[in-house]
């Protein structure tokens, strides 16, 4: 043990923790609600946080879902949104009664724990933001039930109001009753797309057509039979969205080399892929692996839904999405109870753990090939070069040619004409490297709209399988937070006193002409001799 600690280091600095709980559950979907209820039943102190309803400003940036600006003015009424969210799911009210500390409209922007390169935290902590303030919550265990979001797909006009994710559309309609669309066209025919189409139709929305790039629908026949009256255009790609200031008025689709077809609609629903929301888990450093049969990048879990980081669990869609789970929310609920029971047992409460095999069946289609086909047909072959990254305005060509962003004004005739492989090396291209060079994925939406498309583009551009493209890293805060709200207001005195611009190491700033011949700790320069320099 050391007798002296570097006062400029994190050692000895206290993290202000505003509140504590035994268990934090993130996400009030079926899995999260089941987990919170189960843990509370055994006397565990539970906080359940859910960001819904999200502020309308965030919705405008497609956070956390691709809302495509197709929500009515009612979305501005936070109280009404909150009431609708609670009223539409009686299970939430039941949680209040069960003694769960339910925090709605509260996003979790970071989960932190000590690990290989962090040792100064008091234990697992989560960063919460309720719209007015942010604070740290100490929690002995965390169950992440962050759900799913929709994969984006760029085509001319996809930035128009009315191009939105199918999960986003369902949420706007069924949870908040603010969806502003009457006649929609759905892209994709997976179980997830078909289930959403069915529920939207049940909610009074006309589904004008399903568009599918594959030769056959990829979803289950029973569902297709239920939706038999909806035309399915197989072997078609999106050519463009047409519309004006009010947004989408029609979609134009065509088979390869075939006749264009215009379908009038006021919304185009992106249903080509639903993606597990692993942001918090990846930013924390949980092991993630690519499993297309579970929807893409998912946390590595054991039978009790424990991630690779002690005390952190993942359940529901963020732990993996597959057809049966989409059809039957009881699977997600069972995951929630299983994880909660492990939490309960680990906190010293005797509980009988169920021995249940997890229901799992792989998708009946090749998810990688499917997503690549959509991106090849619609994004790469797009006329007019739409922005794949809407925030930073980066096209597919600019991504594949690793062009410096246009605002640098770098002359086009000095473009790097090497291939992607020549520019980046023989290994599969890493989206993190590509985004820092092109800016794709670096914007305010934090890559939610373009992340999967960029990976697909790189796989196609480098001629490698999608599974070999590394995951672009997620970073806290996983929800944008204003500086003034993110700001720590209870900073520890020792932090303030010893705060330094850099390492706070006076000998570093001794000018070379004054540097001593020999450096020893005993004879080192002190602060007064060498004020810090940038």
């Amino acid at each position: 043990m050391s007798e002296f600690r570097d006062p400029k280091s994190v050692a000895g600095k206290q993290l202000p923790v505003a509140e504590t709980t035994q268990l934090l559950v993130i996400g009030a979907g079926p899995a999260g609600i089941a987990a919170a209820a189960e843990a509370a039943k055994h006397g565990i102190k539970v906080v359940l946080a859910d960001e819904n309803p999200v502020p309308v400003a965030a919705m405008g940036d497609d956070i956390p879902l691709h809302f495509g600006q197709r929500y009515g003015a009612a979305a501005r009424n936070r109280t009404a949104m909150l009431e609708a969210f609670i009223a539409r799911d009686p299970a939430i009210a039941a949680l209040f009664d069960a003694g769960v500390d339910v925090r709605l409209g509260t996003s979790v922007w970071g989960v932190y724990a000590n690990g290989p390169s962090v040792g100064w935290l008091p234990g697992p902590v989560a960063g919460l933001h309720d719209g007015e303030r942010s604070f740290m919550l100490g929690c002995e265990r965390v169950i992440v039930a962050a759900g799913r979001r929709d994969m984006g797909l760029a085509f001319p006009g996809w930035e128009l109001p009315g191009v939105l994710g199918i999960t986003a559309a369902e949420r706007l309609l069924h949870r908040f009753d603010v969806l502003e669309a009457r006649r929609v066209v759905v892209l994709g025919t997976s179980t997830e797309a078909l289930v959403a189409a069915r529920s939207l139709r049940a909610g009074g929305i006309e589904v004008a057509a399903l568009v599918e790039v594959a030769r056959q629908p990829v979803g289950p026949t029973e569902l297709l039979r239920e939706l038999a009256d909806i035309p399915i255009l197989c072997g078609h790609r999106v050519r463009r969205a047409e519309g004006g200031t009010d947004g989408v008025e029609a979609i134009v689709v065509a088979p390869e080399h075939g006749q264009e077809q215009r379908i009038a609609c006021d919304a185009i629903l992106l249903g080509i892929g639903v993606v597990p929301v692993i942001e918090l888990l990846d930013a924390l450093g949980c092991r993630i692996s690519y499993l297309p049969e579970r929807g893409g990048h998912v946390p590595v879990l054991d039978a009790a839904h424990r991630t690779s980081v002690a005390g952190i669990y993942a359940i529901g869609d963020c732990a993996g999405i597959w057809s049966a789970k989409t059809l039957d929310p009881d699977i997600a609920r069972a995951e929630g109870r299983r994880a909660a029971m492990d939490v309960v047992a680990s906190l010293g409460v005797a509980v009988e753990l169920p021995a249940e095999p997890r229901a799992f069946q792989p998708a009946s289609y090749d998810l990688d090939a499917y997503r690549l086909d959509w991106v090849r047909a619609t994004v790469i072959d797009a006329a007019g070069e739409p922005y794949v990254c809407q925030c930073e305005e980066v096209t597919a060509r600019e991504i594949l040619e690793l062009r410096p962003p246009r605002y640098l004004g770098w002359p086009d005739d000095r473009r790097n004409t090497r291939t992607l492989r020549q520019m980046l090396g023989e290994a599969p291209p890493n989206p993190d490297q590509v985004k820092r060079l092109t800016r794709a994925g670096m914007g305010v939406c934090q890559g939610r709209r373009c992340r999967e498309q960029v990976a697909a583009l790189l796989a196609l551009g480098a001629g490698v399988e999608l599974r070999h493209i590394p995951l672009a890293s997620h970073r806290a805060p996983v929800r944008p937070i204003p500086l003034r709200i993110a700001a720590e207001t209870q900073e520890a005195a020792e932090m303030t006193e010893h705060w330094d611009t850099w390492f706070g190491m006076p000998p570093q700033y001794v000018p070379h002409w004054e540097a001593p011949e020999f450096y020893t700790v005993a004879g080192r320069a002190t602060d007064d001799k060498a004020p810090d320099v940038e």
Binding site: D6, S117, E392, Y407, L424, L483, W499, F503, Q508
Partner: protein, 385 residues
């Protein structure tokens, strides 16, 4: 298996290694840079982007090269000249005033500004500013873009980069390094440069060269884009960083975390709630940007020598070994460092600067337990003082 070697092999594809590779390649030297991962992936690609180091013997060359670097490399670095340091109280004003003395002594100009002059150049600054200093030197650039530019420019001159390749050891004969052994075969060399950041310690030790250093983790945050200010290289209030050419505010500062890295691996670069302390200071530094949203935070892992100053030296034994650790200030100095390493490889001595103060022998009398004496241990290994 013996692969095609190179006259000069550089271990470490960061700013230092790639700049050296570029300088050597443009001189016609057959050069190969080997990296365990992706070029610029560690501290070289994730830092404040500052190009202003008046205390270094490489300062004059740093200042000479940056303004012409885009042209020399043929790829954009996003370099922008000049810096402003603004103060929020008299103590900061005094302290930052002293800090410029070394540059002024070397003939560079730094002007004192009043609060109004600061706000004209830094429109996001608020009424809490008391004054500042405008440095007519230094500047800032985009780290990842610059490192990639070195790599591409080196390749344009015939140099090679081998990424995702782990160095396992070295072969020596007759007091020289003859071969670099990797998990992808062995590569013969006439000269070896070790510029592998936190891994230098481990790699050099296998050649009998002891480079005292400890790695640490440091954090930064970035906001959404804001309107471009006339000068983007703004520091102060205990922060370093810059406004990027896109408009984002990218800032760091505050406590670092010492790590123990006992082999060739680098741990997950986790960030922590320190984001909140940095955010508080950015909101003070740019009071008119307090509404701007933080969209990322990240951490980098950086090596430091006991005095925080670089080691750039051609060793006596093995006599074809050059060691270059920049000790947490490598990015900005990299154009000059590459030039110095080129000189050490080709000429045996640096032709444009006196590197005497950067010799390893300055640690010959270093206390054996210097890490404990300086308190450079991970928090879990420390007791309260």
């Amino acid at each position: 298996m013996t692969e095609r070697g190179a006259s000069a092999i550089i271990v470490g594809g960061g700013a230092t290694g790639l700049s050296a590779g570029w300088w050597l390649a443009r001189d016609g030297v057959d050069v190969l840079v080997i990296d365990k991962g992706i070029v610029g992936w560690e501290a070289s690609g994730r830092n404040g982007g500052g190009c202003t180091h008046p205390f270094s013997p490489l300062f004059q060359e740093e200042q000479r090269l940056w303004p012409m670097l885009d042209e020399l490399l043929g790829y954009p670095t996003e370099f922008r000249a000049q810096r402003i340091r603004l103060a929020l109280d008299e103590q900061q004003m005094r302290r930052y005033g002293q800090a410029r003395q070394h540059a002024v002594r070397q003939g560079f100009v730094s002007e004192q500004l009043d609060a109004q002059q600061v706000r004209a150049l830094v429109p996001l600054a608020g009424d809490n500013v008391v004054g500042g200093y405008l440095h007519r030197f230094g500047g800032h650039a985009n780290p990842q873009r610059t490192v990639q530019a070195y790599a591409w420019a080196m390749q344009d001159h015939g140099g090679r980069v081998l990424q995702h390749t782990t160095v396992l050891g070295f072969s020596t004969a007759g007091g020289k390094v003859t071969e670099v052994r990797t998990d992808r075969g062995d590569f013969g060399c006439d000269t070896l440069v070790i510029a592998a950041g936190p891994q230098i310690n481990h790699l050099a030790a296998s050649l009998g060269v002891r480079v005292p250093m400890v790695a640490a983790r440091a954090e930064m945050i970035v906001t959404e884009p804001l309107p471009l200010m006339p000068i983007g290289g703004v520091d102060g209030n205990g922060l370093y960083g810059r406004q990027t050419q896109r408009g984002n505010l990218a800032y760091g500062g505050g406590p670092h975390e010492w790590l123990e890295i006992d082999d060739n691996t680098v741990p997950h670069r986790s960030s922590t709630p320190l984001m909140r302390n940095i955010a508080a200071r950015v909101a003070e530094l740019f009071a008119r940007a307090a509404h701007a949203r933080v969209i990322r935070s990240w951490a980098g892992i950086i090596e430091n020598t006991p005095d925080g100053r670089p080691v750039i030296e051609r060793m006596a034994s093995p006599d074809n070994l050059v060691v270059a650790t920049l000790s947490s200030i490598g990015f900005g100095l990299s154009p000059a460092t590459g030039h110095a390493v080129r000189d050490l490889v080709v000429d045996g001595v640096c032709g444009f600067a006196d590197l005497g103060s950067l010799r390893l022998s300055r640690f010959d009398r270093l206390e054996r337990d210097w890490i404990d004496l300086q308190g450079w241990r991970p928090p879990s290994r420390q007791v309260a003082s």
